[in-house]
């Protein structure tokens, strides 16, 4: 029986193609990744996206500027406040209007709280993907406090539509400053708690150090932005490079990482949470009095022209390219999605790693499929 050579079966093939399907607990949404494996080593990946494509850019051409604002929350639904900030600021630029100082400060505070809540969700789910179940509960407990602030401010927790073109619609509620200050005191020890759980943990270090290395020049070549770029060593943050809202008047640092691996991206985001608390503390102490809505026309008809405005969203550079034809509806709205562009780097980061590292790398890029697909 053993004299004849056994028939070659597909199990003998050198490369196996496996589908990490759109329904998968670790792909953070409906993302399909086709993995080419040699045993357990990844030879190549291919991402199939578009399962959550809703045609937001086409919808924008059929809504007025004000009507389109709630749609932008739904793209990166985890960081809806940032999306709204980018859109409102882009249209304000197009209208040559400016939000008053009080509005800019409140916008900064809410956007930074949103950055913290987005990073908390990222941390909880990323740790969960790698097997650490406890951080999820801790981060969601903190996230509840932030969502309570959002709910008290604008009535919604997730898709907030907090800002309006020209400023804010709602004045801050009674107790806003106290609640935000209380959160600023409550939160920093919690970040230390997460660090004690994860940073020195041998299992965490084994799973994240050296995994998914993206060097700085590769990252710039792949147009990656945000914490992924900063972890690769490029000290660049749009809040410092091209300040918007109230960031020019506030003092904060930009964390970077030396190697560009998963651990550095984790470290950069943890530090960003601490820096965000620093920003919020300063901003809350100096909110100026004054109006909350600038001078914008009731019927918005920006002059014929175009604008590209981008902000530092928690995921990267979120840009809006808006072309106006002088009517009440935009002619073209293009959203520059940071997650979509960062996800391109997945292939380069995964090569040579094991299948389990693919999960770590998808988590570390911090994708939200609503933004990848729009």
């Amino acid at each position: 029986m053993a004299t004849s050579t056994p028939q070659a079966t597909f199990l003998d093939a050198n490369e196996i193609v496996i589908n990490m399907g759109p329904q998968h607990p670790s792909t953070h949404g409906v993302l399909r990744v086709i993995l080419k494996l040699d045993g357990e080593k990844v030879m190549g990946t291919e991402c199939i996206i578009g399962y959550l494509h809703r045609g937001v850019e086409k919808i924008a051409e059929n809504r007025t500027y004000v009507q389109f604002a709630p749609y932008v929350d739904r793209m990166d639904y985890v960081a809806a406040v940032s999306n709204g900030l980018g859109y409102c600021e882009a249209i304000e630029k197009l209208l040559n209007a400016e939000a008053p100082p009080r509005a800019r400060y409140v916008r900064t505070i809410l956007t930074e709280l949103n950055r913290i809540s987005s990073h908390l969700l990222w941390l909880g789910t990323h740790a969960l993907d790698l097997g650490a179940i406890t951080p999820l509960f801790y981060t969601f407990r903190e996230r509840e406090e932030i969502l309570k602030i959002f709910e008290n401010y604008c009535g919604a927790r997730l898709t907030t539509h907090a800002f309006r073109i020209g400023g804010l619609q709602y004045e801050t509620y009674d107790g806003f400053e106290e609640q935000v200050k209380a959160f600023c005191d409550y939160f920093p020890p919690k970040v230390d708690e997460y660090e004690t759980l994860l940073t020195g943990n041998r299992i965490w270090l084994e799973r994240t150090k050296g995994v998914g290395i993206l060097k700085a020049d590769e990252a710039i070549d792949m147009c990656v932005t945000g914490p992924v770029l900063r972890a690769s060593g490029v000290k660049w943050d749009l809040r410092k490079a091209k300040p918007y809202a109230a960031y020019a008047e506030l003092d904060f640092d930009i964390p970077t990482g030396p190697n560009g691996d998963t651990f550095d991206r984790y470290f950069v985001r943890m530090e960003e949470m601490r820096q965000s608390i620093r920003i919020v503390r300063q901003a809350v102490a100096k909110i100026p009095e004054g109006p909350i809505m600038g001078k914008v026309p009731k019927i918005m008809k920006p002059p014929v022209g175009e604008i590209y405005h981008s902000i530092e969203a928690p995921k990267g550079e979120l840009g809006y390219y808006v072309v106006s034809d002088g009517s009440t509806q935009p002619y073209r709205v293009r959203v520059r999605p940071p997650c979509f562009i960062n996800l391109q780097a997945l292939d380069r980061m995964c090569r040579g790693h094991l299948v389990a590292d693919v999960v770590a790398i998808i988590g570390t890029i911090d994708i939200v499929l609503g933004e990848v697909d729009r």
């Binding site: 996206i49 710039i220 019927i299 590209y308 390219y321 293009r334 391109q344």
Partner: protein, 214 residues
């Protein structure tokens, strides 16, 4: 007791505010008014900008004397309009000599009234200069444009999305396939002549074998 008709979603241009009722007529009317036709044959109609001069423009004119590069600025944002054949050499020059090393965005827009219908738009950023630049290249309906993947490899998916949404082919792209829509989708949604009603009618006819009631 409904006082007003609920707004029908597919009809473009309908807004609830009464003063905007003027735009609830066919959308083509306000658009035709709002695209001022510039007298110069080369300058495309659309966004209006003031001419922009400076060291970058001079460096470009010096290096590429035979290419018609127009430079404008609008609301302090500078942009160049270059012919589609020269995209890769100009992009390589901008990246290597003028240090615009980050391609922030690659997208397109459809201006059906123009001679060259599409405009592929590149948003560039330079870390060392902390400066943004927009580069626009008009592309006609059946024409294709060279892929800038050799210059910035992150242009890959962005070009696939432009192909998916507009139908503009990028030459020498390693994987020119649809990215957001299913591979067998017909039509290019972000073109101005692509109606949502038409999409619904086709789907209903093919899958349910009845006429759509819209």
């Amino acid at each position: 007791m409904p006082e007003e008709k609920p707004p029908v979603v597919p009809k473009p241009g309908e807004a609830p505010a009464a003063p905007a009722a003027a735009t609830s007529a066919a959308k083509a009317a306000p658009e035709a008014k709002a695209h001022p036709e510039k007298p110069a044959a080369v300058a495309p109609s659309g966004p209006v900008g003031e001419p922009w001069t400076g060291e970058i423009v001079e460096a470009l004119h010096k290096t590429f004397p035979e290419i018609a590069i127009q430079a404008f600025t609008y609301l302090t944002q500078n942009y160049l309009i270059i012919p589609r054949e020269s995209v890769v050499p100009v992009a390589m020059f901008l990246k290597t000599e003028l240090h615009f090393n980050l391609l922030a965005d690659l997208t397109a827009a459809d201006y059906p009234k123009r001679e060259k219908r599409f405009e592929v738009v590149y948003q560039l950023y330079s870390f060392s200069r902390n400066e943004r630049l927009r580069v626009k290249a008009p592309v006609g309906e059946q024409e294709s444009i060279e892929s800038v993947i050799p210059v910035w490899s992150g242009a890959d998916w962005m070009e696939r999305e432009v192909y998916d949404m507009f139908g503009i082919r990028f030459e020498h792209h390693p994987n020119m396939k649809r990215i957001l829509l299913p591979d067998e989708w017909e039509g290019y949604p972000l073109r101005k002549d692509y109606g949502i009603l038409q999409q619904d009618e086709r789907w209903v006819r093919e899958n349910l074998h009845i006429e759509s009631g819209q």
